[in-house]
Point group: C2
Chain length 313, copies 2
């Protein structure tokens, strides 16, 4: 099955990476695979399975290579994505068989230094090295995505100039990224800004290369921002089951857009995601059992589906 | 000051009515007035102060006449709205000096019978009687709003035909309502439906009479639905401070759209509400002190404003 068969909008599940990386209890590999298996069962087409960072930096994701390998073996149709901070990580992702590798380039250089300990120029050097690596990887090589993070503002620098985001997106494509996406790492985005920035990046790199949005719900605007992106033609949205990754000091303030709520919104609007909501809620219960001490967020799981609600086949 | 001076979008605070009516602890009149005073201080222009229903039906709102009268005396510039279930309530609202009276007509007749113990025909008779009453009330008579509730679906009937909503909106205007609004009483709405229904009602009654949206956040789509309404030209949105009125059985699932989050979204988009966010958060703290056992919802109050965020003057 092609990734996009019968699907209007691709909901890319990033919980196993972005969600898990910010929580303390380590989720055993077996539990991750059971959870992701349930997501696949629900119809999820793409999962960001982990991050190829040194194990001592993010112990939670030390098993990323094993998770990627097992997923490709057990669910050959699943599009398995992985984050990589540099060329070394990209090599590991390639070896494990990832279908997509995502390199984050923080528009805020202060954040880039904190996050990857690299300046913009240094990260762009890694992009060049990864493109070079992939050019030798044959026809089935993974998709290479450059993700401009803190694109809508930074908790360290404050507002981020839109021209800088556009320029970085252009550089990513010029140096060999197949696609660029924009990440609201800090939950600062608003719908007007999403529209403006998506349009500007589409104009700069071509709409077919400006593919995805990674939005957080920190200030409750996650789904409104998705709507703004949708209306500008974006068709791939990251989301995290149970809003996993929400700041523990902000009850109710989930991290990523909650997958269940996003899928509900899209399906209610008549947009096909390929995901069955009842099964998605079943996967959430598996996640909840695996992480009994972590709060899960989201409205749909509490409120349930509207009476008489039916998903398109 | 005119209600709309310097304001792009009117955020109408319905917490004192829709919020309080669904919670158990009775808020003393003094506390209500202190809270609403803080909202006025923050720049809130319109408040739904209560409901003219028999005291034994909603004890929480038994002081509505006193609240309306006091607000008009202490805050002459404030636009004071009140809900009325019938002509008797409208007479009381008129006597108290309300600036706007809102009559709910539930698109679901099952819900209408439960809520007002009246069929559609019986409610429309009340509309006729209220229009007659107001026609004799002189030039400063209150605005008469007909609110089509359960317009996006009903927890008792399920989906509600859009043609029925449009027909009821037309009847309300034909019988004398100055304005109609649409209420997502059940939190069933999605952005595509909001667009469709707003357009259809605008076409039927004229865009200048299709004024407001009353949206709930039960399934997390509140602000996305606001955005859809905004894009169709709606400029008045109800909201409730702290999402007051949320179902106690659904943690995190607030009732009404949360005022703080809505004002933040609008101001971040560059739309003026006339409301100062810091003062609005101060009013929320006054509310929290007055209702120590009630959970308050919303993301902004937990997450805070983005670094470097500035409201337009």
């Amino acid at each position: 099955m092609n990734l996009w068969d019968g699907v209007d909008v691709l909901v890319s599940e990033v919980g196993p990476r972005d969600g898990l990386q910010s929580i303390t209890p380590i989720m055993p590999t077996e539990a991750k695979l059971r959870w992701i298996g349930a997501l696949v069962e629900a119809g999820v087409r793409e999962v960001e399975a982990g991050s190829f960072v040194p194990a001592h930096v993010v112990p939670q994701l030390a098993d990323t290579a094993e998770v990627v390998r097992t997923l490709k073996r057990c669910h050959p149709g699943l599009h398995v994505a992985a984050l990589v901070p540099n060329a070394r990580g990209a090599r590991a992702a390639l070896e494990a068989g990832a279908d997509k590798i995502t390199l984050p380039l923080s528009a805020s250089e202060t954040h880039s230094l904190r996050n990857l300990r690299r300046t913009h120029a240094q990260v762009l050097d890694e992009v060049r090295a990864i493109a070079e690596l992939l050019s030798r990887a044959g026809p089935n090589r993974p998709v290479f995505e450059g993700a401009v993070s803190t694109a809508f503002g930074c908790t360290l620098e404050g507002p981020v100039p839109e021209a800088r985001v556009v320029a970085l997106a252009e550089r990513l494509v010029a140096l060999g990224c197949d696609e660029v996406s924009l990440s609201d790492t800090t939950g600062y985005a608003n719908p007007a800004q999403v529209r403006r920035l998506v349009k500007a990046v589409q104009a700069a790199v071509g709409p077919e290369r400006m593919t995805g949005l990674h939005l957080h719900n920190t200030r409750g605007l996650g789904l409104a921002n998705v709507l703004a992106g949708l209306e500008e033609g974006v068709r791939t949205f990251d989301a995290s089951q149970g809003g996993l990754g929400g700041c523990p000091f902000a009850p109710g303030a989930s991290g990523n857009v909650v997958t269940e709520d996003l899928v509900f919104m899209l399906e209610a609007m008549g947009l096909k995601t390929g995901i069955d909501l009842d099964r998605l809620l079943a996967a959430r219960r598996i996640l909840a059992e695996a992480l009994p001490t972590e709060p899960l967020y989201g409205f749909l799981a509490e409120a349930g589906l509207p009476l008489g609600f039916r998903q398109a086949a």
